[in-house]
């Protein structure tokens, strides 16, 4: 299905990442946003508030992030595509509702424009230290998808992907931006609506008397029903059976929670998004994402000019982590260098996947600015030795 032309601002634009993300939500078909102001993410919903009255939809500024992150879920069950936007402390407040969305299989998008933490941290400066929180922040076992754009163009493109993936897998999808990507202004090309592929929500075709809200299809994802159409379905954050009814049995818990994770398996490797360069002959592979990947790009160029066979592996899908691809590379490279604006988060995944086959060298940074390319270069040089 193609994008609804009403939301698509076709043309060549000069936009920052936050604004481009907003245009992505509109192109993806989002017609409901709830937000609460927080730097450096607010521009996304500010633009949505300005655009949506002439597109047709709702923006509401809620009283806090708890409210924003569940208002979107009410909107989804009423039939809308919906999202919220936040940063640092607000992302922490949203954790319970990320768990609710995972448990009730509510397709929705959470945009986190990362800033320095912990706590109030560095409100106006970049960080990438919410990566583990995005994956594990709510209690219990569940799966999510997280995407990491590194340019305003990708903020647009990946936001559409985020909505599409949320509909396909019925999981909350995190857009893991950072302050730099959110606030940098670059060329953004928005295509014609018929060039934008949209994944429609999969509603049940069964009559109400036959419909079971959590009966999975073969791909382990159940079909949805829309409120107000006579299905009289029940949705709960309690452990539930296929009818959606609470069920406290060990068997139901096991069946449900395992399915919540297993349904994402197709994404983990074959379909994970990444950008690679020079992996064929690489001795050292730099694994990076978001703004750090642009600094890493420079470091890789410098290394190549010195005759070091450096390759690039940019994570676009951070979660599910593409472990098999890293494992395969680990068998034939000397080392991975993993720069990130945190004290070591995704590097733990690289280590796990490499499983001792190759060295894994973190290049940590507490946040507040980006790396100096020389720091990453030095790590590459060291690794190549």
């Amino acid at each position: 299905m193609h994008a609804d032309p009403k939301g698509v601002l076709t043309g060549v634009h000069f936009l920052d990442g936050d604004h481009a993300c907003c245009e992505g939500t509109l192109a993806a078909g989002a017609r409901f946003a709830a937000g609460y102001p927080i730097t450096p993410s607010t521009e996304v919903v500010e633009r949505f508030a300005s655009r949506i009255p002439t597109v047709g939809g709702i923006f509401i500024q809620m009283e806090d992030e708890l409210a924003a992150s569940i208002a979107i879920q009410g909107a989804v069950w009423a039939g809308a595509k919906a999202f919220t936007v936040t940063s640092g402390p607000g992302f922490s407040l949203m954790m319970e509702h990320i768990g609710l969305a995972a448990m009730t299989e509510t397709p929705c998008v959470f945009v986190d424009v990362q800033r320095g933490g912990p706590s109030t941290g560095l409100p106006t400066l970049p960080g990438q230290a919410d990566m583990m929180q995005a994956r594990w922040g709510s209690h219990g076992d569940y799966g999510i998808i997280a995407l990491c754009p590194n340019s305003p163009q990708e903020c647009f493109d990946l936001t559409i992907q985020a909505f599409n993936l949320s509909e396909e897998f019925r999981v909350p999808v995190m857009m893991m931006m950072d302050e730099c990507v959110g606030h940098m202004t670059e060329k953004v090309v928005i295509p014609e609506p018929d060039q934008i592929e949209i994944t429609p929500r999969r509603y049940t075709k069964l009559p109400p008397e036959e419909y079971r809200p959590f009966e999975p299809r073969e791909d382990l994802v159940p079909d949805m029903a829309r409120t107000g159409e006579g299905y009289r379905f029940h949705i709960t954050g309690l452990t539930h059976d296929e009818r959606g009814y609470p069920n406290m049995s060990v068997e139901t818990q096991d069946r449900l929670v395992r399915r919540l994770l297993a349904k994402l398996n197709p994404l983990a490797n074959g379909r994970s998004l990444c950008e690679t360069e020079n992996l064929e002959d690489a001795d050292v592979v730099v694994v990076s994402y978001g703004i750090t990947s642009r600094v890493a790009q420079r470091a890789i160029q410098l290394a190549r000019s010195r005759g070091i066979r450096a390759g690039k592996f940019r994570l676009i899908t951070a979660w599910p982590f593409p472990a098999e691809r890293i494992r395969e590379l680990a068998g034939r490279v000397k080392a991975f260098v993993v720069p990130e604006l945190n004290l070591g988060q995704m590097v733990l995944e690289v280590e796990r996947a490499a499983a001792g086959q190759a060295k894994v060298i973190p290049v940590s940074h507490a946040g507040g600015t980006v790396h100096n390319p020389d720091t990453i270069l030095n790590a590459i040089v060291e690794a190549a030795r």
Partner: protein, 294 residues
């Protein structure tokens, strides 16, 4: 004592059964609990109001009353603790055709969820909020809530509660609710009528229902069983429609002022939104569709 058995004749049916998920019975509520009584009143209100039940959604938070959504044969949502109102807000705005009812307890709506209550009332969001007030956190074992009156013993106030309480009806009025009423589970006719009334009233409507918790609240305070609670409600209640809500504070064993206190017309959130956008944007304003084509 010989046990009493009740023979249910073949074909007999409680008139509220079509509104309940009978495949989920028996429910979890204790003998003497008032929540079931309020559900009975609610189903009768739905029946009498002749609203299209396919368009009614019910949203609950967490707690004993939070289980109501799960028993109602409607599109029903059992959300997180305290957050039924913002979930309902999103639902209502994404599809204004829906009649969205929030059904939850005092702990859920006024302690953890208090912020959402006042803001939804301020916005005059078109939601019907029913609060079953048993003055305790019953699901977790009878701890103090923001409505537990002074001197009451609770699991977390073993020497007696002493914090000032919220007067829910005054709070609702002050925050901007269009409709405010209070009844007890003794006043089944009046409660049913109030519930029916709000199903036809636009804007933020609030009904508080005092309801007994014999298992925890009453047992700990030697206040007898469910029947004793009914006797107390009957004896202590005074119907004063239109009473100033500030005079309707509740206490452990004092007078209970019940009635409809507020019934006023204020433009609701969507009316205000439409008016402002039309003023600012004129014909460029595109009203939100009932729900998107996605």
């Amino acid at each position: 004592m010989t046990p009493t058995t009740l023979e249910i004749p073949d074909g007999a049916q409680n008139p509220v059964e079509p509104f309940l998920r009978m495949d989920r019975m028996p429910h979890i509520w204790c003998p003497g609990c008032g929540i079931g009584t309020t559900v009975n009143c609610f189903t009768r209100a739905l029946l009498d109001s002749k609203v299209n039940l396919d368009k009614v959604a019910i949203v609950s938070g967490i707690g004993c009353t939070g289980r109501v959504a799960g028993y109602a044969r409607l599109d029903s949502f059992h959300t997180t603790h305290g957050r039924a109102i913002p979930f309902a807000t999103g639902m209502k705005l994404a599809n204004p055709e829906l009649q969205v009812v929030v059904y939850s307890g005092d702990g859920d709506l006024f302690a953890i969820g208090g912020n959402h209550f006042i803001h939804a009332a301020r916005r005059n969001m078109d939601l019907k909020v029913i609060c079953v007030n048993n003055m305790t956190y019953a699901m977790t074992g009878g701890q103090s809530s923001s409505t537990t009156p002074a001197h009451v013993i609770s699991a977390t106030a073993p020497y007696g509660a002493f914090e000032p309480t919220f007067n829910l009806v005054a709070l609702a009025e002050a925050a901007g609710a269009s409709y405010v009423a209070r009844w007890t589970t003794y006043h089944v006719k009046q409660l049913s009528r109030s519930m029916e009334e709000v199903l036809h009233k636009k804007g933020f409507c609030f009904i508080e229902v005092l309801s007994p918790c014999p298992t925890l609240y009453q047992r700990r305070n030697k206040m007898g069983d469910g029947l004793d609670a009914m006797k107390y409600y009957k004896q202590a209640s005074k119907i004063r429609n239109g009473a100033p809500t500030g005079e309707c504070t509740l206490s452990k064993s004092g007078e209970i002022v019940v009635g409809k206190f507020v019934d006023r017309d204020r433009p609701d959130y969507l009316e205000l939104l439409r008016a402002q956008m039309t003023e600012a944007l004129g014909e460029r304003y595109v009203e939100s569709e009932a729900s998107c084509s996605c």
